[in-house]
């Protein structure tokens, strides 16, 4: 039900950091213990089921990981993947309806009415406003008619009445994740609910939900200074790849997505080969797997959707964005980097860790502690996604009286140090130690684990990579860090964006009261 929150944080395990000699449990033992507890099965339709037994309490968590996100939205339909995700909470032909046969007829009429309205609305020449008003009225009436068959929110209601906790979903640019936790005795009920909505989505109440999504955009992007800055930042950094597009959707596009488009997206991307379902908790694979197979076997096979052809061309011109408004200053800059499969992926994590992690980090010590010009400063990657080449982003919040330009200069100074001299042995070891420890810390949480296992299974074709990545972490050298820094952190590869605080404008602050005297206290 939500867009991924703009992260000044790295997401999940991909980014978490590692070490050491002090760890009693060795990596091999970790992996071995998980090997014993994890069962995977690829169904004939291509869907992968993964069960991780962790019987600490009689509960389980799941993540359904669909390898499609807003990066896959067709041109002119930005926000579509997210819109579909909202639809997946609206029920099926069996749940959420009073009479599906009749509802289906009513929904087809809604779609026809919307098409008629949109055709008139989009006319470049000769739009007939009177006709438009009539068509809008028809559209509303068709929706009201269809609404008569709806049992509102029945899908989520059944889940919540059966103890579902944390019912939600997230649509990112790269993927869509559905998740919740439940008492273990509801496993079969969950399997029915989850597989039903993957297979049998009905575009119920679509146009009202579209308004809800537009409100979500107003909240996350339009009415948030950071949201506005980030949207402009990535739109400037990318010229070709969909990573540059508003992920929640440009207002003109998301407001005209149709139910037909959402269902087409579903048909293309919600196929077995594009879905991994991970379950972690008090579940016995031997008992559960046959039952899960029965339910999730219903997902259509379909071909794995073709990969995107667009590759962001090499940036050759430095770009900047300045937003002048009445909010406090903020500085962000980004450099293009390769995707997560790049052999240097762990090197980027090492740089982020050394520059940003905790009060020992270079940016904290330089900008916050010593120069005392920033309240917070860090660098992280990748943003806004990891499946395709993303950005390595640095940012700083200036202290009062300090400017974005000072942030930029101070960050560049630290980057130059990284390029000119090796990091210390201690810094490199610290990165490795913290990454390993953080990986271990994450293993005690069913939902986090389900999410990571599904993600690694999708991105690497094998959940074991969650543990095997530590090998790559261990192999990072000081020379790697210097090499990558020199390669990537160059002005021609940079896009920067900042907010400069503008003087207040004299707006009619009382306008909302329609002329009544407010009388500031």
């Amino acid at each position: 039900m939500q867009k991924k929150v703009s992260p000044w944080f790295w997401k999940g395990f991909l980014a978490l950091t590692l070490m050491a000699m002090a760890v009693v449990v060795t990596q091999a033992q970790d992996l071995k213990s998980f090997e014993q507890r994890i069962t995977t099965k690829v169904l004939p339709n291509g869907l992968t089921l993964l069960i991780c037994e962790r019987p600490e309490a009689p509960v389980f968590s799941y993540t359904t990981f669909v390898d499609a996100g807003d990066v896959n939205d067709p041109s002119g339909e930005s926000g579509l993947a997210h819109m579909f995700e909202h639809l997946a909470f609206k029920g099926t032909s069996e749940i959420g309806t009073k009479d599906y046969a009749d509802e289906k007829v009513a929904l087809d009429k809604v779609e026809a009415a919307n098409n008629a309205y949109e055709a008139e609305y989009l006319k470049a020449v000769g739009r007939d406003e009177k006709k438009l008003a009539v068509l809008e009225q028809n559209f509303k009436e068709a929706q009201a008619e269809a609404h008569k068959y709806v049992v509102p929110n029945q899908f989520t209601d059944v889940a919540e009445r059966n103890g579902a906790e944390g019912v939600n979903a997230e649509t990112g640019l790269d993927d869509t994740r559905y998740f919740w936790s439940m008492p273990e005795n509801r496993l079969e009920l969950w399997a029915w609910l989850e597989s039903s909505r993957l297979v049998d989505t009905v575009p119920r109440e679509f146009y009202k939900e579209r308004n809800v999504v537009i409100e979500e955009r107003r909240m996350r992007t339009d009415s948030s200074p950071i949201g506005r800055l980030l949207e402009q930042f990535v739109a400037t950094a990318y010229v070709a790849h969909n990573y540059g597009r508003s992920s929640i959707g440009w207002p003109s596009e998301v407001s005209q997505i149709t139910a037909t488009e959402a269902m087409d997206f579903h048909k293309k991307y919600y196929v077995g080969a594009n879905i991994v379902v991970a379950v972690v908790g008090d579940v016995k694979a031997a008992d559960a797997m046959p039952m899960l197979e029965k339910y999730f076997g219903r997902v259509p096979a379909g071909p794995k959707p073709e990969e995107m052809t667009t590759v962001e061309p090499k940036q050759f011109a430095e770009k900047t964005v300045t937003i002048r408004e009445q909010t406090q200053p903020l500085y962000v800059e980004g450099y293009h980097r390769p995707d997560y499969r790049d052999p240097d992926d762990a090197v980027y994590d090492a740089i982020a860790d050394i520059m940003s992690n905790g009060r020992v980090s270079r940016l904290y010590r330089s900008l916050v502690r010593d120069q005392q010009i920033a309240a917070e400063s860090a660098g992280f990657s990748p943003y806004p996604g990891d499946k395709y080449p993303g950005l390595f982003v640095f940012y700083a919040y200036p202290l009062p009286e300090h400017t974005p330009a000072e942030m930029r200069d101070a960050i560049h100074k630290e980057i130059e140090k990284l390029k000119a001299a090796d990091v210390t042995d201690e810094e490199l070891q610290m990165y490795k130690t913290r990454t390993r420890a953080d990986l271990l810390r994450g293993l005690a949480d069913n939902q986090g684990l389900a999410n990571s296992l599904a993600e690694y299974q999708t991105r690497y074709g094998d959940w074991r990579e969650l543990f095997l990545q530590l090998d790559k972490v261990d192999k990072v050298t000081k020379a790697d860090i210097r090499r990558v820094a020199n390669q990537v952190f160059v002005p021609s590869n940079r896009t920067s964006a900042w907010i400069e605080t503008a003087a207040p404008t004299a707006t009619a602050g009382q306008a909302a009261t329609a002329g009544k005297d407010g009388g500031a206290q």
Binding site: E94, E184, E216, D222, S223, R298
Partner: protein
Amino acid sequence: MKRIIQTSLVFAACAFVFSSGAIHAQQAKPWEKIPIPKLHEFKPHQPRRIELKNGIVLFLQEDHELPFVSGSVLIPGGARDEDAAKAGLVGLYGQAWRTSGTAKMSGDAMDDLLEAKAAHVETEGDEDSTSLSWDSLKGDTDQVFGLAMDLLFHPQFSAEKLQLAQQQVATGIVRRNDDEGEIAERESAKLVYGANSPYTRQPELATIGAVTVDDLKAWHDRTIGGKLIVSIAGDFNPAAMEAKLRTAFEGLPPAKPMPPRHDSFAGPKPGLSFIDKEDVNQSDIEIVGLGTDRHNPDVPAIAIMNEILGGGFASRLFQKVRTELGLAYSVGGGMSFAYDHPATFHVAALTKSATTVDATKAALAEIAGLNTQPFTDEELARAKENILNSFLFRYDTRDKVLAERVRLEFYGYPANYLETYKAALEKVSVADLNRVAKKYIHPDKLAVLVVGNGPEIKPGLDELKLGPVQSIDITIPMPKQPPAEQKQ
């Protein structure tokens, strides 16, 4: 737990087949035929509680799943107890305590040592408490515990680190009007408790500038003699750990209780307030009143009423304002309860500027409806199932069980509070709901705050007919000098 479904299941346990077609689907309710077996036997693992002669309480929660040990010392007294002229002191203390370090080791040296081990020792200031916490890999337990105890008993507050903390807090102060939601939350709480209440007063540049190193030391000396609650979780040897904790805490003088607070809570002045923000296209609507505390025996019934009003997807607010009207992405709320003082009644909705009046009316109608739209058996059953079937998630990890026990100990509630609370939830009836709605829901006593883009709000707020619209001035007071140069 879920009787209806369980019984209907007995005869259908093996009979369930998928109905791939749609015919008669609406009557079928296939999910009701899915077997729900008995839940696996589960007894939450309780920590061992040890009360020392001086009143200090220890909790030991063993958990050998992963090779980590974590701990915390919870200290009574927090921001609500600080001097109003130095508002922000406890927040500064929470930062500077750790970053300053001890006589033996500076905070910076401690950072280097701990981070190299992927370990942490942190301090924090909260509304009613401060705390010291730590965590490390098992092999570093003794060393990290030693550092934490050094910091607890021998802190050395430094002017330099206080200044650093003041700069951080100052940044938060000057940025506090950037985010619409932050403004709405802060200012609506002020409407309920009063702008100068210990629960809502804001640190200002002047008040944080007035805080000195001596203030931090005095705060530490004043609170460290209180009834500390020490909790340890993870992969440790219980006998050795107990001995270690006894050595550290047994010799301390008898804990001094915090003096009781005598706050008064009048609740808001009814009416409509407005804050103009030119850079938004969505209004944040907050409808607020006074809430209650957990000692109130009506809390179980109120919790169920909350679930019906604004708890989940099926709640009245969600169904009406989001699903039916499509007016909001974010909508919800209810009457909250705190452990030792009344919390707030709070319903919020975010809607586009043009529908501010519609959404406010719709939310107010749902609140008023608690008294006029009778609660149904179906609503009661749904709310109970929602709460009771997921109750397990309050204690499904050993960390959660420990945190709950510490919380109950801190506020003086019995250790079996959750069990009795759950039993009371099960007994709530429709009559109880009607009674608590009548007792606590008074739409004429609620205040409404709108934060939004004035010129875009059409129709205007006067359409709500809630009396004259009061503008709230949220200008941030700027002292003559920057705070960093004021202190010491």
